[in-house]
């Protein structure tokens, strides 16, 4: 490095020094500043100084969340190794590695192995696998912040624990971007009694955020219909820059915006591409290569390009709609201007007017460097069950020894011996009533005290099922004449008939035939085609962002405001203040509006969609205690709506009681269908724990007689094995993630400390309008929708 004329950053040399002194630790630095080399060179330097401490075989295991990163990283590491003249082999191993290479690695492991958490667990399921890990000196986890808040984080924690168990002198290093709970992140990664360093880079990435404003502000905020207007502002930006990434939030939106842009500027055809998780992998790789080589002017994409290899030519990023979180916003911004001292350029395009306040909020958050925390998963019994079976497939395991090292893992600190025994019981005997499981022999106890799997078929099934990424049932989409286009959810395709046209990857195609998890299509000339809606992707605003949002709104009308976004919104905000009220940071606004449709109650907690969904049913429940009413519920990230055909008995006298924090969890439990929600959560758990066998897209359903839905198994277990820990986990996950219990409680705490403002408005207000539009969307097709919105707007502005 230094020979090349690079001066190492101080955090890099600090890492080298710490590593040399036998520390484990975590490096926190913005992307593009050479985080990788901080840890990698640390190992190399240590090796050069103490070659005798390193044995033959695996020395460094490098875990990264993405396969696509590994290849380029390996190349960069190899260059260094060659330059120094080291005889190290640096190799990649993941799902894409050819069998031939895998077998060779199994005979002789390289010195450095770049891999994923799943692949490591797959290695654990091989015969005599511990010999590979006996002399590992270091395990490094790249992009730890990405893994932390997911079940893949738990897979990583387990992998570290097992390797540390085999190689006690192991040093553990994490590499992370800035998040809100760095100390916790470090403790989760390294919960062991070793020397631990936390190294933070002083260097900061410069981000320039500009919001694109429409020509004029509508007095009622359009919701999601600014497309055409804004595309004329996007085109010049695409031409001004070398390569622009255009981020949308859903695959559906990316298809729509791709169409909008090429309609506005047909000259861009051929220079603009579309990239999302459902596009065929080969095509995605081609697009990624084309970006790197600077062949494309723009790419419309989803979170599919949030992470991954650095694209040198990208010098501009456009975010369409809300990024939903501060960290995500910064991550995306950071995709442009990648080298250390360049500035990242980000344009924010609102899809409705109120989103401009959000942009102002993000700017403030970035300025204050307030980024969300990532909550680690704990007590994930499904993953523990999967891991125990993995061990049983591999070398077998002894329960006492396994319990000892599992308990050290952060996720299982609070795992009781009873719960661990239950997991063993679950994989050996199935359930509590032995007589009910006579034919169940998954894992058996051998005479030598080891638990093992004897059936080759069960072992095979398990290997195919390792991992925690559970996808919807997906079908491949393929041209009749050959050539893949991408993937689509079975859920979506099941609603279509032969001959129906839909859009995928910017192409309009129509269905010819569905066969063996593959949809055969041909090009269609039809003008009308359906844009697939993929499930999921409706992330709520994070609490970090909503905090700043409330703050910005609160100060929106103070006269000395100089922020461009708020100034622009002034007419809209003024209308809100005149017809109703703008909630200050210590206020909570409720609006009651009567229209032809019925009686509306709008409330604005600004806590994100999920929390609002729960709050809405809770408030509906509490009101119906006073008077029996049926409600239609709608919500968005700002608030929720209750609509009834009769007058809603909410008054200044009872509003504090109805929005009270007392009996919160009890009332929530009464107001929602918890078992229905748990059944949905159980889907992933059932797959991870091996109760449901997944079918790969494009493959024939092989285990036809073993197909069953997780909902069915949930019901059966609920009836016959209510003590099953996996059921308990499903309910816990509902409360922790679906209901966001902590956030819900905090929200009610905040409301109880606020002044509740109850306003009666004569017509829809700027705050309520987007909510109204969102709820219309659920029931009507798109064309009717715009007409209907127009009508409501006219009525309101009369």
């Amino acid at each position: 490095m230094e020979e090349k004329g690079h001066e190492p950053f101080s955090f890099q040399s600090q890492t080298w020094e710490r590593y040399h002194n036998n520390f484990s630790g975590m490096v926190v630095a913005p992307t593009g500043f050479g985080k990788t080399f901080s840890v990698f060179l640390g190992v190399v330097i240590d090796y050069l100084n103490h070659p005798n401490k390193y044995k033959k075989g695996l020395k460094l295991i490098w875990i990264s969340p993405l396969r696509s990163l590994a290849k380029d990283l390996a190349k960069a590491m190899n260059d260094v190794v060659v330059e120094i003249g080291l005889d190290w082999a640096v190799e990649v191993r993941n799902g894409d590695t050819p069998t031939k290479d895998r077998r060779r690695q199994e005979r002789l492991m390289p010195d450095v192995l770049l891999t994923t958490p799943e692949t490591l667990h797959l290695l654990f399921s091989q015969k005599k696998n511990s010999r590979w890990f006996k002399n590992v000196n270091c395990i490094a986890v790249d992009e730890w912040h990405e893994l932390l808040g997911s079940k893949r984080g738990v897979l990583t924690e387990i992998a570290i624990a097992r390797i540390r168990n085999l190689s006690p002198k192991l040093r553990i290093w994490g590499i992370s971007a800035t998040i809100g709970n760095l100390e916790e992140a470090k403790d989760v990664l390294i919960p062991y009694e070793v020397k631990i360093a936390m190294i933070r880079a002083k260097e900061k990435k410069k981000i320039k955020i500009t919001s694109l404003l429409p020509d004029q502000v509508e007095e009622l905020s359009w919701a999601g219909h600014l497309g055409k207007q804004m595309s004329s502002k996007i085109i010049p930006i695409i031409y001004e820059n070398t390569t622009t990434l255009i981020f949308t939030n859903t695959r559906n939106q990316s298809e729509l915006w791709y169409q909008i842009i090429i309609d506005e500027e047909p000259d861009l055809i051929g220079q603009i591409a579309i990239h999302h998780g459902s596009i065929d992998k080969v095509q995605r790789n081609w697009i990624e290569d084309a970006i790197s080589q600077g062949l494309l002017k723009a790419v419309v994409c989803t979170s599919s390009l949030d992470l991954g290899v650095d694209f040198k030519p990208v010098d501009c990023v456009i975010q369409i709609g809300s990024a939903k979180g501060i960290a995500r916003f910064m991550q995306r911004a950071g995709r442009s201007g990648h080298s250390p001292f360049e500035t990242s350029k980000m344009y924010a395009v609102p899809t409705h007017s109120l989103q401009l306040i959000e942009v102002a909020a993000v700017k403030e958050a970035v300025k204050q460097n307030e980024i969300e925390a990532r909550q680690p998963y704990v007590l994930t019994y499904d993953i523990l069950v999967q891991f125990l079976v993995t061990l049983a497939v591999g070398e077998g395991f002894k329960p006492e020894e396994t319990y000892e090292f599992v308990k050290q893992i952060h996720a299982f600190h609070f795992l009781s011996k009873e719960e661990f025994d239950w997991c063993i019981h679950f994989i050996t005997q199935g359930g509590n009533t032995l007589k009910s499981y006579e034919e169940f022999h998954k894992v058996v106890l051998d005479d030598d005290g080891f638990y093992r799997i004897k059936s080759r078929r069960i072992a095979m099934n398990h290997r195919m099922n390792i991992g925690v990424i559970v996808s919807e049932v997906m079908l491949f989409v393929k041209f009749f004449s050959g050539g893949y286009i991408g993937m689509i959810e079975e859920y979506f395709i099941s609603k279509l008939k032969k001959g129906d046209a839909f859009v995928l990857g910017g192409k309009v195609v129509e269905i010819q035939q569905i066969k063996d998890m593959t949809v055969l299509v041909k090009r269609s000339k039809k003008k009308k085609a359906i844009t697939p809606s993929w499930l999921g992707g409706r992330l709520p605003l994070t609490s970090g962002l909503t905090y700043f949002l409330r703050l910005k709104l609160s100060n929106a009308l103070t006269s000395n405001n100089r922020e461009k976004e708020l100034k622009f919104l002034h007419p809209l905000l003024k209308r809100q203040e005149e017809n109703s009220h703008i909630p200050r940071h210590d206020e909570f606004l409720i609006e009651m509006i009567e229209t032809k449709e019925g009686f509306h109650l709008f409330a604005y907690p600004f806590e994100g969609r999920l929390v609002h969904e729960i709050m809405a049913s809770l408030i509906a429940y509490r009101i119906s205690q006073i008077k029996k009413l049926t409600f239609t519920i709608a919500m968005n990230d700002y608030g929720f709506e209750l609509l009834s055909d009769q007058e809603i008995p909410l008054t200044e006298e009872n509003m504090n009681a109805i929005f009270s924090k007392e009996n919160l969890i009890k009332d929530v439990t009464a107001s929602i269908n918890a078992s229905e929600m748990a059944s949905r959560k159980f889907r992933d758990i059932a797959v991870v724990a091996g109760l449901v066998i997944q079918t790969q897209p494009g493959k024939r359903k092989t285990n036809k007689s073993l197909q069953s839905s997780s909902g069915l198994i949930f019901r059966v277990l609920n009836d016959y094995e209510p003590s099953n820990l996996l059921l308990k986990q499903a309910y816990n996950e509902v409360f922790d993630y679906e209901l966001e219990k902590v956030r819900l409680q905090a929200a009610f705490q905040r409301i109880s400390n606020s002044k509740i403002i109850l306003k009666k408005a004569r017509n829809f207000t700027p705050l309520s309008f987007p909510l109204k539009v969102d709820s219309l969307r659920g029931t009507m097709s798109n064309e009717d929708l715009s007409k209907r919105i127009e009508r409501i707007q006219k009525q309101a502005l009369k």
């Binding site: 049926t630 007689s705 069953s708």
Partner: protein
């Protein structure tokens, strides 16, 4: 032991015959002293267990107990099963079924083979089950496993699809219930076993759905 189930029925005319649909997933055919049912999938829980998926056997036990109560309640002498009696290979669930059968001395079972029924006839002989490979006719009724083309001369009764239906309520509420699907000249039975999924996507044209719960049966 299981509690007594509540049996509620609804009569429908089918050509010249009268059939009674019940909320317990069977049809009672009074004149023939028969129950018509489909998709028992006996052996499914043990088959899952053998493959390392712990599904408790109680699933089968409750299914059989329910069938026993139905046989006694209607006092029938025949079971007409329109396919998928057994789920997969021979396993301990089938032994339980065999033992269960011994309590009925005069019960006659007729099976129209389904896609899951892949045993040789010798096995069915052991259970004293009369097997029909494709279809079975009685009076104006035709019994098959999976429905193909409507026949003009017969009223077709089939199973196989595990029909279910969504009931949509206000405020985006949805409930999924099993159902009988009935048209002018055909009827599709719900799966008898509770360890089966529901298929809400396939329905014949112009069909009425009779869906049911533990204590009621409704026409949609």
């Amino acid at each position: 032991m299981m509690q007594n189930i509540s049996i509620i029925s609804k009569t429908i005319p089918c050509n010249d015959e009268v059939l009674e649909l019940t909320n317990q997933r069977v049809i009672y055919w009074k004149t023939q002293k028969s129950l018509i049912l489909s998709d028992l999938h006996i052996g499914k829980s043990a088959h899952f267990q053998k493959s390392g998926i712990p599904i408790p056997k109680n699933v089968l036990t409750t299914d059989l107990e329910r069938l026993k109560q139905l046989i006694q309640y209607f006092n029938v002498e025949n079971l007409i099963i329109v396919g998928d009696l057994f789920h997969a290979g021979y396993n301990s669930d089938l032994d339980e079924f065999k033992t269960w059968l011994t309590q009925f001395s005069n019960l006659k079972i007729q099976l129209i083979k389904g896609n899951h029924d892949r045993f040789s006839n010798a096995i069915y002989d052991q259970f004293k089950i009369e097997v029909f490979k494709k279809d079975y006719f009685l009076n104006c009724l035709k019994f098959v496993h999976d429905f193909e083309e409507p026949s003009k001369d017969f009223f077709t009764i089939s199973g196989h699809t595990h029909p279910g239906v969504f009931i949509k309520g206000k405020g985006r509420q949805r409930i999924k219930l099993p159902c009988f699907q009935v048209t002018k000249n055909q009827l599709i039975l719900p799966a008898f076993s509770l360890f089966t999924g529901l298929n809400t996507r396939s329905a014949p044209k112009n069909c009425k759905n009779y869906c049911f719960t533990d204590d009621g049966i409704f026409e949609l």
